[in-house]
Amino acid sequence: MKALILAAGRGTRVQPLTHTIPKPMIPIFNRPVMEFLIDLLASHGVRSIMINTSYLASEIESYFRDGSRFGVEIGYSFEGQLKDGQMIDEPVGSAGAIRRIQDHSGFFNEPFFVLCGDAIIDLDLTTLAAFHKERGAVASLAALPVPADQVSSYGIVVAGPDGRVEGFQEKPSQTEARSNLANTGIYLFQPEVMEMIPSGVSYDIGSQLFPQLVERGLPFYASQQPFRWLDIGRLSDYYSVLRMTMTGGLPGFTPPGTEILPGVRVGPNVRFNPRACRLRPPVWIGASSTIEDGSALIGPCYIGPGSTVMSGAHVEESFVFEYTRVGRMAQLRNSIASGRFCIDRAGTTIDVAKADLDWILSDARSNAPSQFDLEPLMEEFLISR
């Protein structure tokens, strides 16, 4: 079987993460979200994968390359153009992406999966394929029940008792909702659906292709097999996924590094004296990092490669991106931090440059910022109180 992973979105709802990386490349520890999907596809025998790219395409293409490192073959469908040395994004929509590839080569000549590149799932794709085949479906989607009071956050699928899709409701209110089945953005199509996607225009699966399938009465089914769906739709979702990963809740994920003490894993070339720091496992420290004596790492926490945690800094239940300098006065709690931003578990974001906070967070590759004038005064107060 074949697959398309949708990776052309701008990820505007999870800014500032997506200023420099596209959403599918958002890291879970040392691995981008999309790598989990490629592993999943490979484990179900899907070897031929297309990825449509547009926004920050080269970030994706230079990481996954031809896919051989992941045991699959990967091709890219770049939606945009190079103009005066600048990459211009020209995304064509999720269904448009399928059509564009088909027009190019007729790649989709057998049933194919379509997955969104920004969620971690453990769906049994083989079972979904069997469900699809048994019903003679032209299209199937994986639906999951969500709590009734959360339907307004999802695209809702209305299906009959046999799973046949009868309609959709986009983020309905709790009273309007005719179902509590969420569309998870995981689909399986027969090549015949191509006839319903116009060439050369932007076209969407959820709002344009699916209504046509329903209207024409084509065999279109919603599978309700249970699975884990970790969608990174909002910044707070990202914190939850990281937290879950740090506490061992992500199946099949092997944490990086060498265990030097129970629950303390470090990469190569790390400067760190565990006895000189306040430490509560589990803690991960990426390669080439410096953990200065007198800092506190209260797990679960992750320090990305090339980072410096300065003496006095407090990092607790937090995820620190690569090349981050965490200043002496910094107190990271339940946060995601980099040299450019700090996001707390609720999604509240602090822009480091805008708030002039380089004494708290900065890029570890830049010159160390001069001591903030008020640091000594703060220390005096911190001791007295």
Partner: protein
């Protein structure tokens, strides 16, 4: 622009004006605050209008605290919005200042400490 202040008993509540306190307006605010930062003053800064504070804004609050502290007074904060609260926690200033959810709670904390004194 004159600061809005409200003195009940001997506690003065100052409403920090505007949504932004950064390098562009800390100097002006510092001048306006000069009058209320009197020796031994019992102050509350109401931050409920503020959505964004930068390092210079933090510096102004810290220097104000030092000024009243050195003369036996105190400065407490109330009404923090989420982004301001997140900033205070990040830079550890939540441990330097006494922070209350509401103006009443901040005012009452002075009354409580008054009662506690012999």
């Amino acid at each position: 622009m004159a600061l809005v202040t409200d003195t009940v008993n001997d506690v003065t509540v100052v409403t920090i004006p505007g949504e932004v306190l950064d390098a562009s307006n800390t100097r002006i605010l510092k001048e306006e605050l000069a009058g209320v930062l009197s020796p031994g003053a019992k102050l509350v800064f109401d931050l409920s209008q503020l959505r964004f504070v930068d390092s210079s804004g933090l510096g102004l609050m810290l220097s104000s605290l030092r000024q009243v502290h050195n003369t036996g007074g105190d400065l407490k904060l109330c009404g923090m919005t989420k982004p301001v609260r997140a900033l205070f926690e990040l830079v550890r200033m939540n441990r330097v200042f006494e922070i209350y959810a509401t103006r009443d709670e901040a005012e009452n904390s002075y009354a409580a400490s008054r009662r506690a004194q012999p």
